[in-house]
Symmetry: C3
Subunit: 135 residues, 3 copies
């Protein structure tokens, strides 16, 4: 079974989509045990499993990424959509486009401190579509 989940975020950063994914599964009447595979249909945003306890973790992740893949136009030849365009593609390449998460009794079997994040790499993104395959 495939369903989709859409999310509009405000700009760069990590956005917790755990509840949205859970609601999309619930709306499909998912019960029992199985596997939920998430796939993001974009190349300038990614999916991430990360800690959901201390928001400073999310800030530090973004800070590290900003240094490792700088928004410096002199570094890139592809700049059709502005200085955040090519860095977004590289940041997406370094992180996940798909995630496989088991579920038990209809609930994502995440660890105690885990959440599912949409990591947005563009400054003014459009709505992002994530496909969920459930088996």
């Amino acid at each position: 079974m495939i369903t989709r989940f859409e999310r509009q975020v405000s700009g760069q950063g990590l956005f917790d989509i755990t509840r949205g994914v859970a609601e999309a599964m619930s709306q499909q009447g998912v019960t029992g045990d199985g596997l939920c595979t998430l796939f993001i249909r974009h190349t300038s945003a990614s999916l991430l499993i990360q800690e959901n306890y201390d928001p400073r973790v999310l800030d530090d992740l973004q800070t590290w990424m900003n240094k490792a893949v700088p928004q410096d136009p002199t570094l890139y030849t592809h700049d059709d959509e502005g200085p955040d365009d090519m860095p977004a593609h590289i940041r997406s390449a370094l992180t996940a486009s798909s995630l496989g998460i088991p579920f038990i009794d209809g609930d994502l079997a995440l660890g105690t401190w885990q959440a599912v994040y949409l990591w947005e790499h563009r400054e003014n993104p459009g709505p992002r579509t994530i496909l969920l395959h459930i088996t």
Copy 2:
């Protein structure tokens, strides 16, 4: 169902394998909706979802990777197969060995600008084998 897809590329870089994957699925008579999981049976090449519109994106990705993981033998102790050997393993560790892509009506449900790439990290690679699991 498991099938395999083989590809010989000329050297380092990103090679679009979307059509090859689609053909392998078609040859197996895949129809309807489901999940195609790709797995590359090598540790010096990887799988990537990336933009297929502007080839400069692929050049910039390779340029960034060349700087982040340099082919500098003084940095590594493992050099059995030449200066591109150990960097290839690190580049593979930073990118994906497996990808889960939903399909709808037998077609990979990629976004408008997405393609599936084989990212080859060796200068003189042998043929690369990718397994496809379809459910």
Copy 3:
């Protein structure tokens, strides 16, 4: 079918879990062809497909990561659990939380030189739980 696999490791580094995964599959009576999806329930350790032949590959991977994501407290704001805490989250974000590996005749269809690793990013980790979904 979902099963779990637990591993206690001694500290940072790459630990081969291929045999443990195979044993967990065997204990469930897995035969035939299918897909094994691994999911690690932690955000400071990751899963990796990597070469299993030369241990220097594993050392070089760790050395590269130590430089790319330094354990330098001045770089991070989140430091609740010590100087290895935030780097562990970043290292986990750059590597995989889930892996999909096809199996054939009940055996993981890995390439000749491939093994499955737990990449531990903490210096004094607790036991790590990996879920296996088998279909």
